[in-house]
Amino acid sequence: MEENIFDAIPGFDRLLEEKAFEALTKRERDQVLQFISREDYNHFREAVLVAQHGMQRREPPITPDPSVKNRLMQHFDSESMPPSSSIPLSLSRLLNHRIPFYQAALAASVLLFMVIFLLLQNHRMPVRMAVADTVYVDRPMLLKDTVWLEKSGEIGPETAMIRHARTEPRDPVPARSINENPLYTRQMDDAMRRVSVISGLEKDRSVNNDAGLMKLVITGMAIAISP
């Protein structure tokens, strides 16, 4: 295989461009002549210079049109500007957004568990139901709602009297006379200790109703009076 002069003489291409054979140093000439003749060197150089002169004769042949750069810079600005209108959520962008399958599956399972949990919670919610309760009171009190009074005893003439008192209440005893009569006061206290109030849970347990108070007092009086 023929040895390549470009490999043997580093920068041989530059030499062709810059120096005629006569301008070469002795060392360069010797190197060149090991591969090609002087005539060949000059022919090589002719071809090189004609190729180069072709450019140099038209210097500067043409210059870039300034409008080219302007258009490019405008394009750059439009491309690099953040698309402000498209940043807000657009429906098409959301619909076209692709997520990995595992993420979709994970989200679906979380939703499923949430639904199941809420359904179970609904089943555990307390049921509104009436609960019987007994309250012992030892003094007059305000009642908001209906109060049932119980009295343990035997059915006898006194029970009939109570029933009579409920249906046909007598004139209420004046509060003053009750307070002044120690017998009445003691009996009232005694009777009130025996009053039990039954109420539903949904009913307000506070007793602040005047009508209820009067009812209690009247009923209590009736019980106290009875032997």
Binding site: F6, A47, F76
Partner: protein, 192 residues
């Protein structure tokens, strides 16, 4: 040119290209200023000396850089990479116009307004002959010769552009020069 910060003007092509990948405006502007003149003349020579077409191709070349700077591989030399894009654009144009033979060697200009001196006439004849002889060579050898002595790329850059070893480029150059020398012996050396 002086309105760009020194930090950009002093950077290498490769550093600017990396900045362009991050969409830095000044990097693009500096790269354009460095290569616009060179590339517009490259297109001018390669595309039938049509100045309008050369400007259009210059625009398209830098538009490619702008639209897809990610195609530049970090570590690669910028200049041969740019030339490889430009060469491909020219080849596509040759194909589309189907006037390849007319355009192929249009890099050698016509000599306008030359005097009647015999030396210039010889030069003109020599150029015409060189066109013809180069045209007879295969594309690879012709391209290596033109890239080296017309576009003034270095052997290293041509090797990078053509994705081949430097030794291959040197061999192709030597082969081309020898072939031309044999065929052009009838012409006397013009420059001594």
């Amino acid at each position: 040119m002086s309105h760009y910060p020194d930090s950009y003007r002093q950077q290498s092509d490769e550093e600017l290209m990396l900045r362009l990948r991050k969409m830095e405006r000044e990097a693009f502007a500096v790269l354009y200023d460095r290569y616009a003149g060179e590339m517009v003349n490259f297109f001018y020579r390669r595309l039938g000396q049509d100045p309008d077409k050369a400007q259009d191709f210059l625009h398209d070349l830098f538009l490619k850089l702008l639209n897809d700077p990610g195609k530049y591989t970090p570590g690669r030399t910028f200049r041969p990479w740019l030339y490889s894009i430009a060469l491909n654009m020219c080849k596509n144009e040759y194909r589309s116009l189907k006037v390849r033979e007319d355009y192929r060697l249009s890099g050698f200009p016509e000599i306008h307004g030359c005097s009647d001196g015999s030396e210039k006439l010889d030069m003109r004849l020599f150029e015409k002959e060189l066109k013809v002889k180069l045209n007879l060579l295969d594309e690879i050898h012709r391209e290596v010769f033109l890239l080296r002595f017309q576009e003034e790329l270095t052997i290293t850059e041509i090797a990078e552009l053509m994705v081949c070893p430097e030794g291959t480029v040197k061999s192709r150059l030597f082969y081309t020069l020898k072939a031309l020398s044999l065929q052009l012996k009838v012409f006397n050396p013009l420059i001594n």
